[in-house]
Every structure is written in structure tokens, then in C-alpha cells.
């Protein structure tokens, strides 16, 4: 992963001092609420429902074991002993005290971490595929480009006061695991006919109140032009994005208003002026960055595959974990392991300080001291030798991190909801737990196959409910939580927004309805057909009829 140099460290450290100064002025009454708010957001600090919330950046989801240990320390010293991983590969602490945040940031700075630009109307964390660098279907490793973009976007003097937040995602594989077309800028890494590396550039994607799928801006942008092109987009957005209405200020609104062709024209006019200037990426810069992300030296993997096979045959619990929570690595003898943060009785995406320390140890022991955060709110050990899988599995089990539910209904994407978030209309974590309780029979869960259940507590859709196979949106009616259901959303090759199933249902009914939906699927599916495929084949009308005919409000 990227190794900080002295300048990187100095920047982070100076930023901590700057924010410390701003905090002191605020607490002394020399900086008003309104102004301090803008500076604290740009340092990741929210005022939330019950307490301030600190969102720490995990750049493109890559984390070292040392950093994870520091996060555990922070969870213990400054928080209530746990933290939450988000759908943008960041981590959130729910209970810091404002006056202690500069100290927390200093602790982070000591391990080359920060909370810079994780909120506010700025370029946010660049996100990517959690299997970057190891996936079998990789075209180009996106991580060096993520880091280049991260640096370019950090404390960029021109783009600190954008009309609204700005999210960029990069995918380097054939399957898009980064949902790039749901971002303000989505970058798909490709090679053209001559083998040159470049990007397909999408713009104006996003969920929330006005969900939109990103539109193609250019079908090939050479890698050397990455920064100048993105800068051109940002400049056009900075100058022309709406600033009169918070809900109409994202770039997707601008692209939609101008039409993508007009928008492209403006971007390319700007880009023509700067493309061959100082933002042009030199070969040496790109290659120099790639060195940070070289694969760890893989010796011949220890023999042990036979033992794994044997254990799979004899131990159905291990086998279920192997099948659901591990996938093929591009190198023989290795396996990619997902650590499930979806313990059925826990809060999806949460990890305790003890678990963090345990996972850091496992990362050191089994995966070169590195981990990734997936946007599905799980952790990934990307370089595990097959021979080590059994020991790793046992250790994960001991810490409640081996639920064999990755990719299943139990692997829910779930925002923090009413328990934590001032924006939420409804609880989400309790719904997730109730659904898990209903589906506690692991065989039933597995029989349902791949189902992506996404739960958002409000229309801001941090839980990505628009693109779940099943999406649940918390709403408020008569001052009580109700739940809107959507079906048939998808990301990956084809981004499709789910369709509303019908009127919102009560919190008493939602679990029954989710179960009913799965029953209908089982009844109507073809042999071996996935949930997503069945919905595509038969449409949602049948689901609508059967769900609402049974359902009494």
C-alpha cells in the first residue's frame, strides 16, 4: 500500500494543528457555530443524533494492521469500544467528544491516517474495488490511480467550496465492484486496441432523492490525462453547479439540466486548455506510484490444498464458510477471504476494539499485514494462502467474524439509521437483526443463494437501497417508522434502479414481507436461478400481488 513520505506526514500533521486551532477558537467563542461547522466537516466531524460522529478516511479502502490497531486504540480510549465501516470504505466513530477530536486526529496522524475531506462540499474519499490487485478478472490495478487522485484532490485550493459533495470511484476489473456509475465521477479502467491504459469516464451518477445512473462522458481517456480531465470536470461544476438549492446542487443535476452532450462540450473546451500542462501525468509518476502497490512476494505456497479439500468434505461448517466467504485469487494457491461484519445479532458493519486487534493480528499472520474495506461493509484479507485457511477460519470464528453469509440475505448493507443518525426516519439495525433472526436457519439462508438486501434509514440512501435486489427505505408516517420496499435493483455490469413494490409497510410487518418475498422466489424460480434473475424474468408484478394480497395493514 502507499507509504507516506515526509511531506505527506507533514501535511497531515499540519492539518491536525490547524484543526486544533479552529477547535480552540470555537470553544473559546471566537469562531461561530456556522463557520466552525464548515471546518469540522472538512475534518470528518459531524454533529449527530446523540453525539458527534467522526468519519475517518480509509483511502480506497486499504488499511494496514498498524492502522487498524490505532483505530482499536481510538475506539477504546475515546469512544465506546467499537466503530462502523461505511459504504464508502471509511470508518465512523459514534461517540467522540469535540474537545478530544484533535487528539484523536493526532493519534491517526501517527499512523498516516486522517479525516480530511470525509465530509463537506469537497472531493470525498476515492473508492474502489475491494479486490483491487488480486481479482481474477482484473484489467488494471486501480489503486495507484486512486492514490494519485487522492493527492490531487486533497486540500485542492480551487475546489474546497464546491456546490455540494463530490464522490469519485474507480474500477479496474471486468465486474464493477465499486458501483462507479453511482458516483459523481465513475472511472472504468480499460485498455484500448493498442493496449494503452485509460479510462471510460462516467459522470452524474448518484442515489438519494433523485437517483441517476452516470452518463458516459468519454469512452477512452488516456491514463496521462486523468488529472487534467477530472480537473476540467470539477472546474465546470464549481462554476456552474447550482448553489441556490441544497437538493439540486450535485453534479448529476447539472448534467441532467444541460444534457450530457452540452456538458461534455463545456468540459472538453476547458480540458483542451489544460490537457498538456502541468497536470499531465508523467510515466515516472505513474510507475513510481505503482511500486507502492506491487504484490507481496509470493513464494511457492505451502502445500495444504489437499488438507483444505479434506476439511471441506468432512466439516460442513468450514465448507459453507469456504464457499461463501472466500473467492479465487488470481494466483494459484491463494484465496481471498472476506471477514463477515454481519454477525446475525450485531449491527451490520460494526467491529469492536477487541475484534479490531484480533483482525490486525490475523492480517499480519496471514495476509501481509494489509486489509481492505468493502463497500458492502465487510473486511477483506486479500492474500491468504490456501494452506492457512483452516487456522484463519478457526480464529475468525472465535471472534464472531466467520458467519458464512457473504453474498446472502444475511450480508445486508445497512446504514446506522435512527439509532445514530440525525437524518434517519427509521431504525435500520433492529430491522436487520429481526430479519437475521427470522432467517437464522443457515440452510434456508444458503438455499436462497445470492441476495443483496440493502437498508437505508432515510432518502439519503447511505444504505444504497435503490440498487439492492431487495431494497428497504425507512420513512416516517404518523410519527412512526414505516418501510418502503423496492425490488430488482442491481450494480455491476448493468446498473438498474429497483422498482417500488407498493405502499410502505409497518415495522411489525416488514420482516414477514421480506420472508414472503423469499418464499415467492423459491416458488417461482427456475432450477439454479438466482433471485436477481428470477425478478428479471418474471417481473415484480407477481411479487406485488402476492405480497400485498397477504399483507393486512
Amino acid at each position: 500500500m502507499y507509504q507516506y513520505n515526509d511531506a505527506d506526514r507533514r501535511l497531515v500533521s499540519e492539518r491536525v494543528a490547524q484543526f486544533k486551532g479552529q477547535t480552540e477558537r470555537y470553544l473559546a467563542g471566537r469562531l461561530n457555530e456556522n463557520e466552525f461547522r464548515q471546518y469540522r466537516l472538512r475534518n470528518g466531524l459531524y454533529e449527530q443524533r446523540h453525539a458527534p460522529m467522526l468519519r475517518v478516511a480509509i483511502p480506497y479502502g486499504v488499511l494496514s494492521s498498524g492502522q487498524l490497531r490505532a483505530l482499536a486504540y481510538i475506539a477504546r480510549e475515546y469512544d465506546k469500544g467499537y466503530a462502523h465501516f461505511t459504504t464508502r470504505q471509511n470508518i465512523q466513530f459514534n461517540w467522540p467528544r469535540i474537545e478530544q477530536v484533535p487528539d484523536i486526529l493526532q493519534t491517526l496522524a501517527n499512523v498516516d491516517m486522517h479525516a480530511i475531506q470525509t465530509s463537506g462540499n469537497v472531493v470525498r474519499n476515492i473508492t474502489t474495488d475491494h479486490l483491487a490487485g488480486v481479482a481474477a478478472d482484473e484489467v488494471v490495478d486501480p489503486r495507484p490511480y486512486c492514490e494519485i487522485l487522492r493527492q490531487w484532490s486533497t486540500l485542492h485550493p480551487e475546489f474546497n467550496w464546491l456546490p455540494r459533495k463530490f464522490k469519485i470511484a474507480i474500477s479496474g476489473a471486468r465486474e464493477d465492484r465499486a458501483a462507479i456509475r453511482l458516483h459523481d465521477i465513475g472511472l472504468q479502467m480499460i485498455r484500448n486496441e493498442s493496449g494503452r491504459v485509460g479510462f471510460r469516464v462516467y459522470v452524474g451518477g448518484g442515489l438519494g432523492r433523485t437517483p441517476m445512473i452516470g452518463k458516459l462522458l468519454t469512452s477512452f481517456l488516456g491514463e496521462h490525462d486523468l488529472l487534467s480531465y477530472v480537473e476540467a470536470i470539477l472546474r465546470v461544476y464549481n462554476l456552474n453547479g447550482r448553489r441556490d438549492n441544497l437538493y439540486k446542487a450535485r453534479i448529476k443535476i447539472l448534467v441532467d439540466a444541460l444534457g450530457v452532450d452540452q456538458f461534455r462540450q463545456q468540459v472538453e473546451e476547458e480540458w483542451r486548455q489544460i490537457k498538456d500542462g502541468e497536470l499531465r501525468l508523467e510515466r515516472s509518476r505513474i510507475d513510481g506510484m505503482k511500486i507502492h502497490f506491487m504484490s507481496p512476494q509470493h513464494g511457492a505456497p505451502k502445500s495444504g490444498i489437499a488438507r483444505v479439500q479434506l476439511t471441506r468434505n468432512n466439516n460442513p461448517v468450514f465448507n459453507a464458510w469456504y464457499e461463501h466467504n472466500t473467492v479465487a485469487h488470481k494466483r494459484v494457491g491463494y484465496r481471498i477471504v472476506t471477514i463477515s461484519l454481519k454477525a446475525p445479532t450485531g449491527a451490520p458493519g460494526d467491529l469492536t476494539a477487541d475484534q479490531m486487534d484480533a483482525v490486525a493480528q490475523l492480517a499480519d499472520q496471514y495476509s501481509g499485514g494489509e486489509l481492505r474495506v468493502s463497500h458492502e461493509q465487510n473486511l477483506v484479507l486479500a492474500d491468504v494462502m490456501q494452506a492457512d485457511l483452516i487456522e484463519l477460519w478457526r480464529a475468525l470464528r472465535a471472534y464472531g467474524l466467520a458467519a458464512a453469509n457473504i453474498g446472502t440475505l444475511g450480508d445486508m448493507i445497512c446504514c446506522p439509521g435512527l439509532d445514530y443518525c440525525a437524518q434517519a426516519h427509521a431504525g435500520t439495525v433492529d430491522i436487520a437483526q429481526q430479519i437475521n433472526a427470522r432467517f437464522k436457519n443457515v440452510d434456508t439462508l444458503h438455499a436462497l443463494g445470492n441476495i443483496r438486501l440493502n437498508i437505508s434509514g432515510c432518502i439519503n440512501s447511505c444504505g444504497h437501497h435503490h440498487v439492492g435486489d431487495i431494497g428497504i427505505l425507512g420513512v416516517r408516517k404518523q410519527d412512526k417508522p414505516w418501510y418502503q420496499i423496492m425490488l430488482g435493483g442491481s450494480i455491476g455490469a448493468d446498473v438498474v434502479l429497483g422498482k417500488r413494490l407498493g405502499p410502505a409497510v409497518s415495522e411489525e410487518a416488514i420482516v414477514d414481507i421480506v420472508e414472503r418475498i423469499t418464499q415467492i422466489y423459491l416458488e417461482y424460480r427456475d432450477e439454479g436461478e438466482s433471485f436477481a434473475r428470477t425478478i428479471r424474468r418474471i417481473g415484480i408484478r407477481l411479487f406485488k400481488e402476492k405480497v400485498y394480497e397477504d399483507h393486512t395493514k
Binding site: R15, E35, T154, N238
Partner: protein, 175 residues
């Protein structure tokens, strides 16, 4: 008026802002783009004396005056609220796209913590908001010495490291 120019407190600022009177005050004065367009000929005496500055609102398109920049020894950019971001792009374009070498002044709701980024996009003069303390605001320039983006400010200030240039040494690869 609390004014900082090239990181120093400016005591004797000569520039005034047009307040809409039919007659402009004597001396250097910023007028609006609208007034410039309407009264071009009539303003020639001011132009000849080097007294005509232009004040751009955030929604004004800088390219519209690109051809006549040489007339204005100073350009003021209005920030109606400190969260207004368009002025930063306007300044950047004036300096880098159109090669403007005169004074670029930020005016309006400018506070201490905007100073550093304003300088980096090419603003050399700042009218701070009324409630700001000018002396202590100067400290803002020293907050962050590292820059990841190429510099474009006019002032030749120290300590502007472009971090990536230091990455030429290959890092230790962790095995």
C-alpha cells in the same frame, strides 16, 4: 477596512468601491461588470489614469473580459458568503488562463481560514470581513506548508513542496 496584501496588512489602500452614484469618486475605483458594459466610453479617463478596477460577481463569466484585462490594474472578486466557491475558479482562470498580472482582490465575507487557498489560486489582496482580526489572521498563511497541486500564486512564498516530486526514491516494499 481590514486589508491584507501579499501577506501584509495594508494601511493605505487607495481603492474604493463604486456605490452606484452617477459620478464615480476620484481615484482608483472598482465598478461592476454591468457598469463597464454600459459606460465604456465614459470611463476612458479612469482607464487612462489606471484608476479603473472591475468587480466580478460570482456568476460572472471571466472569459467575457479576457480580451480587455490589460485595462484593469485590479480585479475584485465578490464572495457573498465565505462558502462561495466560484471566486476560486475565477481567480485561477484569470491568472493561468488569461495571464492576468494585476491585483486580484477578494472582497465580501472573507475570513481567516480562506486566506491560504485564496493566495494559492492567485488572489494577492483580501478585504477581510468586518468581524475578523487582521493581525491574528496573518497566521493562517503558515498553517499548511505542503501542497499536492502545482502552485499558481503570484507571490513567491517559501515552503511550497509538491509532495509527489519526493517520491522518486523507491519505497521499501513490505513483504
Amino acid at each position: 477596512m481590514k486589508i491584507i496584501q501579499n501577506r501584509q496588512i495594508l494601511e493605505n489602500d487607495l481603492w474604493q468601491h463604486d456605490n452606484g452614484d452617477a459620478n464615480l469618486p476620484s481615484g482608483p475605483v472598482f465598478i461592476s461588470l454591468t457598469r463597464w458594459r454600459a459606460q465604456r466610453e465614459a470611463l476612458l479617463p479612469y482607464v487612462r489614469q489606471g484608476w479603473l478596477g472591475i468587480r466580478l460577481e460570482a456568476e460572472d463569466d471571466v472569459s467575457r473580459i479576457a480580451g480587455v484585462l490589460g485595462i484593469f490594474p485590479a480585479i475584485a472578486l465578490v464572495f457573498s458568503v465565505f462558502t462561495e466557491g466560484r471566486g476560486y475558479s475565477q481567480a485561477r482562470l484569470l491568472r493561468k488562463r488569461y495571464g492576468y498580472q494585476g491585483q486580484i482582490r477578494a472582497t465580501g465575507d472573507i475570513r481567516r481560514d480562506q486566506l491560504a487557498f485564496l493566495e494559492r489560486v492567485g488572489v494577492d489582496t483580501v478585504e477581510l470581513a468586518e468581524d475578523q482580526d487582521v493581525e491574528s489572521s496573518l497566521g493562517a498563511y503558515g498553517d499548511i506548508s505542503v501542497q499536492y497541486q502545482p502552485a499558481s500564486s503570484q507571490s513567491d512564498q517559501a515552503c511550497s513542496h509538491v509532495a509527489h516530486l519526493q517520491n522518486t526514491k523507491h519505497p521499501t516494499v513490505h513483504l
